[in-house]
Subunit: 248 residues, 2 copies
Amino acid sequence: MYFDSHLHTEGLGFSDLKKLSEAGIKEVCSLAFFPIEPKFPQTMVDLFRKLTEFETLRCEAAGVKMYPAVGIHPRCIPPDYGFVMKHLEEGEWLAFGEIGLENVTKEEIEVLTSQLEIAKERDIPCIIHTPRGNKKSATEKTLEILEKLDFPVELAVIDHVNFETLDMVLRSGYWIGLTVQPGKLSPDDAARIVLEHGSEKFMLNSDAGYRDTEITTVAEAAKKVMEVVGEKEMRSVARDNARKFLRL
Amino acid sequence: MYFDSHLHTEGLGFSDLKKLSEAGIKEVCSLAFFPIEPKFPQTMVDLFRKLTEFETLRCEAAGVKMYPAVGIHPRCIPPDYGFVMKHLEEGEWLAFGEIGLENVTKEEIEVLTSQLEIAKERDIPCIIHTPRGNKKSATEKTLEILEKLDFPVELAVIDHVNFETLDMVLRSGYWIGLTVQPGKLSPDDAARIVLEHGSEKFMLNSDAGYRDTEITTVAEAAKKVMEVVGEKEMRSVARDNARKFLRL
């Protein structure tokens, strides 16, 4: 049984959710994301409600246990986002995500920092996006923000890490999300990384969502890790580390 | 080339959208619907933006030309819905939908009536839901509201019509949506209706969306209409009537 630690079930159809379940991906963490910039902060609150109240049930009906993560992604920061922060401060949440930096603007840094401050105060695990372009400097800035906040290492996963940012994130001590998807890492890449650096810090995910993505890459990467590294390591990166990080 | 006149692409994954295209369903009308009751009217405005600005492009990328319809569905009426009405009054829209009655409450009647008033004033086609339970009396009430407004017959389609409500809606003169989906009409049912009542008033749809629905039922029903009735009739109910109704 596998765990996909980072996807967006809201972009998937019921048939995709069934494909996850059939591939043995029985648990997933689905991260808040709105594919346009909202005009109103209120929208984010209703989206978090949809994710936690409706989407969990839809996934369950397809045979997938879904754990929701809420938060403001840097590509969908609404105006007056203080309204959303207040909501995040007041609610009960399993995890914050997808949060992080995209273009490393002043506003993005403020929004990420505010969410991390709430997370630290309230002891909430954070799933932190790193962008496709500008990856190295955005990751450096993200780690700098975390360090400045003295953010607990067990409370953040730096996601979409690639060969360019791997060493830097390994040195930081935070969890590392390996996104297996055409254009990101291949199952072979993931297996190679685990073989070289051990299984302790990594969790596999697909980042599947709205676009034309492959759905069951965690299962494929898990098989490759099992083949190249071993069963114990496969279990860690394809399930147990995600469950430990999310305190399940 | 077929036209699905009523579905919710926001509940479908990219692979489902590709399935539509591969089945020859190259045009669809995607209707606004939020699967929980929003807490804020602002949310609806951002959802209409997502549908018109993002979802159209996502469908296009999968090979499907999507025409968006916006409006307040009776199952997702927000508080202070006047905010949404003002937005509907001010914008440029291809169609209103999914609107209609579910439990025939005073609020639902007000929300439907307000939207129909805007539509009549602004000459906007309306796609009108009828509920699964309570279908006959809800359809009667819907037709009564339309009649009271002297709502133009060419400007509304009464949707999810079944054998219980067919005669009533035929007498009213409005367009009729035939939803082909397990639990609603079968392809055989649709063909039988067209054989008996002609092709002039009907348009086929799947109502595919968030749930475990069949995606390509319009193509299947079209084939059955072609076989049982004829090619000309198939073209009307599986494409041309929807295009005429939406003024494409």
